[in-house]
Symmetry: C2
Subunit: 460 residues, 2 copies
């Protein structure tokens, strides 16, 4: 089955494909906020219907949280490869809403400095990305009447909220979901002209810590000085999480953190990463990580600890002289190599407990734990895919690391025994998780073409 | 003019007086939140109308913020005393609303362990308190046709939001507002049976600190490790505000902090203050202030630093792996003796600036500054009032300190050259500034009777 008419079909169909993506982006499928539960279900229904229209046997599968979409297509017998495509249809919350220049769920094509962009929540993370492979399937099916190989699709609705239903779902449906190789589309290009296969993914450990001091909010005049302020306790804990060299102080934290091989260090060096420009683009100039590490190491191969949110006392307009009863922080750790999330959780909790005064209380809330992933780049499929990507883009494709956590790759390996390949077309300036998220129309268009080529390369 | 029929009249009128207070409590006059501006105006109108009904020449006087109520009554000539009565009609915000057992602005009489209580926001701080002197005026006027001495009333609407309009208003109306002595009703009993005249008041310095790191919220995977997290910067600043002995570390902070006289130390010792019970009542057991100080010192005569609120990143339900652009804390200092609020503000800001990394920014927002007050207890009026209070209550009245800040006493002295006497009937368990605020009906009733007696003693 020849590739050229498929690519031509993709080019001709781009306006219609863009409008289909817009339809999906109009559904506010924010998974972390229970108020949007019906919208998550609506997004799943929309995707299942679209996959059915391409000839897939597609179903919306309930979970205790938001549903999964599972679809099966392509030749079911024979000796060709069997690929599992993964994406997620849920999106991040939109606050602070005031910083958006348009309604996050009223997407539009806008002119950007590097061409047209699709603006809207989820345009890049991950609706725009998952629609690149769906549109590639559509073009193959439309031109050749069938897919080039056996394909299973798994679309999740809880990726942005810790994926609580994912592990049980994979376990319960292991036979149905296990393929030869998983294709995960939730990562980025290395730069505007350089496609990438991500071969290292940081893991993620999420913890919420709540310190309770007095059993109610107090008047800071009447009790200030005598009663312990839980914000003071929490601030000391957070301040102690990094030492003066930027290293994380949780005991045992660096167990299982490997140094880069010289080969990988050289390859990264050759990428000519602009660390200064990377920081400057977000208004900073000083790398905040471990002293003596390059910025690429800080974001790709070194573990971190971040406070993602903190709240205590009166945070509204004006001033309230309250001595708060409670203070809460959401704290996450990005993990690398062989770091053990559960061991780090226990060590972190013990470290926190040791700093809580005897008459204060601490509660922990678990927001997920996933180890880092290192991909099986020796599989010949990696070189085939790398060649296909290099045919589509101006520069040769690179093997890179990624600071973001995509726990699914780890679960595919540990639960289904299946390796993953991570290919995506996002860009660093896509503003994912931030106001004014966008996806380059070029990413969308060449992304669809890339998948058409990768399918040809792997099926051939 | 005899006192007994006035006291009898107060007893008979208590149900009607309680209902009048309820009317005032139903007006949600939260001064710090601009959304309640019309309600603040409504509370002022209600009070002016009530004072007019008692024969006062009362007016609602505009300010750039919420209005003042000013009223003049009693014999205008002659040699009797001229007293200025002060209270405030604005109230604290009500959040967290979920912890209230009833609508904060739908007050009711409830049964408490020590008798009936009036439950609702402002019942104690300060609407219930200011109505004690208004009801005393009503009883005097009703029984004798006139007040026992010349009285000016000043009711403020911005006490809970830093009193931005107070100083200009006092300066512009100095001649009209200056009396022989100010009577301030915004303090408490020493305990259930022991009335108090507060002779030491802590001052208050309010600061809001905002740290900006990256110029937008970032994905903590993509940037975590490389970009500075402003919560981390703010936590270090807060953690450094106290040393290991509980002392505040702002340079020069203890300049002008005097040790107690042996006489005052002895009197406080004789009060038999139950420090353990005081902490236990709010769920704590370990005094959090300076090592080696008694709990009464911590709350009455020692300065403090508290975080009243902190917010940064995603604080909603669930988890968001954001690396926040900004983090903000509201920080206040309680001041004593001759501490200079403006010098401390400058020292605090310099200390914070020195801890902000070169590529982060810090902004400060001023939430008011008032020095501590020490009262002129040598004035014979203090002993007269102490005698009058001792006649009403089971125990003799005490001279005490107060941890709360009532800047008005300092302004009366510095701007009008007028001394103040602070008498109030609040209790430590009134939950002011907290959910489920209440005022004992006994405080209200005996408070009204106390003012009737104090008026008789000072006028006689």
């Amino acid at each position: 089955m020849s590739l050229d008419p498929v690519l031509a079909r993709i080019d001709a169909d781009l306006p219609a494909a863009t409008e289909r993506l817009m339809q999906l982006l109009r559904i506010p499928s924010i998974s972390t906020d229970p108020a949007y539960k019906p919208d998550c279900a609506r997004a799943a229904d929309w995707l299942a219907a679209d996959l059915r229209a391409l000839g897939f046997d597609a179903a919306v599968r309930p979970t205790p949280g938001h549903p999964m979409v599972v679809a099966h297509g392509g030749p079911q017998g024979g000796g060709g490869p069997h690929l599992l495509f993964y994406g997620h249809y849920d999106v991040q919350p939109v606050d602070p809403l005031a910083l958006w220049r348009r309604d996050p769920f009223d997407p539009a094509l806008e002119e950007g400095p590097q061409g047209k962009v699709i603006r809207g929540r989820g345009s890049s993370d991950d609706k725009g990305q998952l629609m690149t492979f769906v549109e590639a399937f559509r073009a193959w099916t439309s031109v050749h009447g069938q897919l080039p190989c056996r394909i299973t699709v798994l679309l999740e609705g809880e990726e942005e909220s810790g994926s609580p239903s994912l592990v049980p779902f994979l376990k319960e449906n292991a036979a149905e979901l296990t393929a030869g190789l998983a294709m995960i589309c939730d990562t980025g290009l290395f730069d505007h002209d350089t496609p990438a296969i991500t071969t290292m993914l940081r893991g993620l450990l999420g913890e919420e810590v709540t310190i309770t001091g007095p059993d109610k909010d107090l008047h800071s005049g009447m009790y200030g000085g005598a009663a312990m302020n839980p914000v003071r306790v929490l601030a000391r804990i957070i301040a102690g999480l990094h030492d003066e060299t930027g290293r994380v102080t949780v005991p045992g934290f660096y167990d299982g953190v490997d140094e880069l091989t010289q080969q990988m260090r050289d390859q990264w060096q050759s990428l000519g990463f602009d660390a200064e420009g990377f920081l400057k683009s977000v208004g900073l100039s000083i790398p905040a990580g471990e002293r003596g590490r390059s910025v690429l190491e800080m974001i790709w191969s070194r573990p971190t600890c971040e406070v993602n949110g903190i709240l205590g006392g009166y945070a509204g307009d004006g001033f309230k002289t309250v001595l708060p009863s409670k203070a809460t922080a959401k704290i996450s750790f990005r993990l690398v190599g062989r770091q053990d999330p559960l061991a780090i959780r226990e060590s972190f909790r013990a470290m926190v407990r040791a700093q809580v005064p005897a008459d204060c209380r601490v509660e922990f809330h678990d927001h997920g734990a996933a180890p880092a992933s290192v991909m099986a780049t020796a599989d010949p499929a990696f070189d085939k895919a790398r060649g296909a990507l290099s045919d589509e883009w101006p520069n040769e494709a690179a093997f890179i690391g990624s600071g973001g956590s995509i726990p699914i790759a780890g679960y595919f390996k540990s639960i289904l025994g299946m390796d993953s390949m991570l290919i995506g077309f996002g860009k660093d300036d896509d503003l994912i998780h931030s106001p004014n998220e966008k996806y380059d129309l070029r990413s969308f268009h060449k992304g669809i073409r890339s998948w058409a080529r990768v399918l040809a390369a792997l099926a051939g």
